[in-house]
């Protein structure tokens, strides 16, 4: 029986658990010195270690440890004074050693939290997501399935393996179970992943590109009857690869579970795969018996025991927490909620801040990035960050406008020119011969011409109907090819008509 989301939440309470895997942006892999560059030719970034050739041994990447500690600190975690790597044993062709070096009962970071805020019907509401652990592990290779349905594992005749990705450092961030989100579960999950992404980006430890797989989310969902404290059976949805999908996957799983439960069926504890096209999940491998990973301490590696002074140095260097930063910027810039949300959605907060730090007025800076520049990016179907216009350019343009050397309209031409690669704003101004007419004589000539042409309107203004001046100003601007300063035109015009 098809249920609506409202049906589900009227009867059940969702319990979430989120596991996020983050690929660190180190230069070299976790346990060997192969490059981590994305998109290289197959098997060009492999060595005896990451191919698990007989005899090869792992050595830990120092930067990966440091990044993991930074992540733990940013997530309010305790940092273990002593932790170890462990082997997680299972056979799979994309994992050369047939064990993953991971961490088991001794993760490097544990017991943290992240606060997220979402919009609810009752206004903004904060949820605390508790972090159980942050641990280090390594990524697997990539398989290409050939024959049968395209790219699908089922029905493939054989597979081709590329181990370039094998051994790239991964950090796994696991939440404790998250109860109490009620109908907002999907939004809370999305906000959590978004917050995590912002934190990681702020730490500069990962590219956090969900579409490239450098941030991957597994969502555990279970339902229990409202009022009950018995946890339901959970399903684990793998590799949900966009923020929107996090929300959709959880909503979809809540409905699927509720339908099963309402029909008196059982939810199977299983791995499911989110399907971008339908927004539904499909069953993955069902495990007849719980996999026995036979974890044991990795004998090829020695313990990680970060000393307190190292941890404190890292803690002192942590960047401002994204949520606090947003709050601060909102106040400093006096931005309305809606505009703040728009900036966050469009991912322009950093770039606007840089522009402001270069001296631009916050409102002006925001308007340029969120308006004209976003529009051009959309038109070109590219990311704002990939356009060849910098905060310095925008700050310069804002300054030119403030100095009266450009009108807003002219400034738009300059922006266009900078993006077209014509150079810095000043160069575009020079090359295109863009100039504000601020010769009062020339302006007066244009004003007199327009007033003569539109005598009726001019009379209205003379007789006190000032709003009618707009049409005249527009005509003067047109007459001066947009190069006049509208404010000055207005001033001269009104004076000319006796105001």
């Amino acid at each position: 029986m098809a249920l609506t989301y409202d049906d589900v939440i009227s009867k059940y309470e969702p319990v979430l658990g989120l596991e996020v895997h983050v690929e660190l942006n180190t230069e070299s892999k976790m346990f060997c010195s192969c490059s981590t560059t994305f998109g290289a030719e197959p098997n060009t970034q492999t060595c005896p270690v990451c191919l698990a050739l007989p005899g090869a041994l792992p050595v830990v990447n120092a930067t990966a440890i440091e990044s993991t500690i930074k992540i733990g600190l940013a997530l309010n975690c305790q940092i273990a004074p002593y932790s170890r790597f462990a082997r997680k044993n299972y056979f799979y062709p994309d994992m050369p050693k047939n064990f993953q070096i991971s961490q088991y009962d001794e993760p490097i970071c544990f017991d943290g939290y992240v606060d997220v805020e979402i919009e609810t019907e009752e206004g903004p509401k904060q949820f605390r997501i508790e972090i159980e652990r942050v641990h280090m592990e390594e990524d697997t290779g990539k398989s290409l399935h050939v024959g049968g349905a395209t790219g699908r594992i089922h029905g493939a005749e054989y597979s081709l393996l590329d181990y370039n990705r094998a051994g790239i450092p991964l950090v796994e961030i696991v939440t404790k179970i998250v109860p109490g989100t009620g109908k907002y579960a999907p939004e809370v999950a999305k906000a959590y992943v978004a917050e995590l992404r912002d934190i990681l980006r702020g730490l500069k430890v990962s590219d956090v590109k969900m579409e490239q797989g450098s941030l991957r989310c597994d969502a555990n969902v279970s339902l229990r009857l409202i009022g009950s404290d018995v946890l339901g059976t959970r399903s684990e949805t793998k590799n949900v690869n966009s923020l929107r999908s996090v929300e959709r996957a959880i909503r979809g799983e809540m409905i699927r579970h509720a339908e099963l439960l309402n029909d008196g069926k059982k939810v199977k504890q299983e791995t499911r795969h989110f399907q971008e096209d339908t927004g539904l999940t499909r069953s993955g491998r069902s495990k007849e018996q719980a996999e026995d990973y036979r974890y044991f301490p990795e004998p090829d590696l020695v313990p990680v025991a970060p000393d307190a002074s190292w941890i404190e140095t890292l803690r002192a260097a942590l960047p401002e927490r994204p949520s606090l930063r947003r709050k601060r910027l909102k106040e400093e810039w006096s931005v309305p909620d809606k505009e703040m949300a728009a900036m966050i959605n469009a991912d322009v907060l950093d770039i606007v801040e840089s522009t402001v730090l270069l001296g631009a007025d916050p409102t002006k800076a925001r308007t340029w990035w969120l308006g004209e520049i976003s529009r051009i990016a959309n038109e070109k179907e590219t990311a704002i960050a990939d356009l060849s216009i910098t905060p310095a350019d925008v700050a310069e343009i804002v300054a030119l406008v403030a100095a009266g050397e450009l009108t807003d309209k002219l400034a738009r031409q300059v922006v266009e020119g900078v993006i077209a690669g014509e150079g810095k704003p000043s160069e575009v101004v020079a090359k295109r011969g863009i100039k504000v007419v601020n010769d009062d004589g020339a302006l007066m000539a244009a004003i007199e011409k327009v007033c003569a042409e539109q005598a009726e309107t001019a009379d209205k203004v003379r007789n006190g109907h000032v709003p009618a001046a707009g049409a005249l100003i527009g005509a003067v601007m047109k007459e001066t090819k947009g190069q006049a300063d509208a404010a000055r035109v207005r001033e001269l015009l009104l004076g000319h008509l006796g105001h």
Binding site: S28, S35, P42, V59, N61, S159, L160, R294, P297
Partner: protein, 99 residues
Amino acid sequence: MSSLSRDDVAKLASLARIEMTEEELVNLASQFGSILDAVARVQELNLEGVKATSHPQPIENIFREDVVQPSLTPEQALSGAPAQEDQRFRVPQILGEAE
């Protein structure tokens, strides 16, 4: 007297990805009793409060700098491959999804 049944051994063999013959399973099951008796001696002592040693030398914090070194060439990487195609390792069809 410890023991493992033929089915216990079969389960372990499947975990270890070894397709054993019936004869091997039965033989191994019959040997396991005495082997387990021998190794179960580790349980004879009272080990409460004794720390486990997983590594003989007390060393910690051995790291390498995050610096890229040359990888193998793809020819070297694939030199031992039982089958290859398009500079990738060719393997039989994989059933079941990754972890």
